[in-house]
Symmetry: C2
Subunit: 109 residues, 2 copies
DNA sequence: ACACAGTACTACGCAATGCGCAGTACCGCG
DNA sequence: CGCGGTACTGCGCATTGCGTAGTACTGTGT
């Protein structure tokens, strides 16, 4: 099975969780997600997700120049984003639990 | 957040898990998934998934006439399907764990 | 006899989303 | 001065879940 399909709908949540720790920019979010265990996440997916979340009003954004490369477009959670994170985390939790229950039944043989 | 997107890539696994219990047909698989907690699953998605899994060689299929309605197209796991189930379940497990770890960090504040 | 609900499946097209790839651009190093 | 690392944008594709319509069979109520 491909982790690609598993990411669908969960990448939003993962990105929100990363940003909840501290404001960050695309390139760094990718790095943090990979370190956290989502090794196969594509950079284009993350940039796309950030843009989508921003457009949806969950993030604020500001540009910071960098001495070690091009400028960085930082993103941070606003109130709407924090609400979304809480709600998504809860939805994920119940969903994951449901799946685990189904699979427990399978393993029990 | 919509459970629709969460289902992506997991519906295969859920259907395989249901079929691992016993052979079944589309209409019944939908019922079982809903009872298990996936209440929002669409019937077209399940029928589509069954056809896809069959086409991929994970299922065998046979038609059984019914006295209480139209015929039923039963599906059952074959060896390839059981292998797929085992592998997918493992992938899901690691993935879910990764996500839960990330969210634990968030809750811990 | 006939409409209707429940059962069971197929087919068509849409929407969301992750990804590959190309392109732009800035930096420091050999 | 090219090259690798940093950082972002945009385009188009593939997968997959879903809504809707259509077909078809059975039993029930009127």
């Amino acid at each position: 099975m491909d982790t690609t399909q598993l990411l669908k709908g969960v990448l939003d949540l993962a990105v929100l969780a990363v940003l909840d720790r501290s404001d960050s920019y695309g390139y760094d979010v990718v790095r943090r997600l990979r370190e956290a265990g989502l090794e196969d996440v594509g950079d284009a997916s993350v940039y796309g997700t950030l843009r989508r979340l921003f457009k949806a009003g969950a993030l604020n954004s500001y540009v910071v120049p960098s001495e070690e490369g091009p400028h960085r477009k930082y993103y941070g959670l606003n109130d709407s984003g924090r609400t979304m994170l809480a709600r998504s985390a809860k939805t994920w939790g119940t969903f994951a639990q449901t799946m685990n229950d189904m699979l427990d039944d399978v393993e029990k043989r």
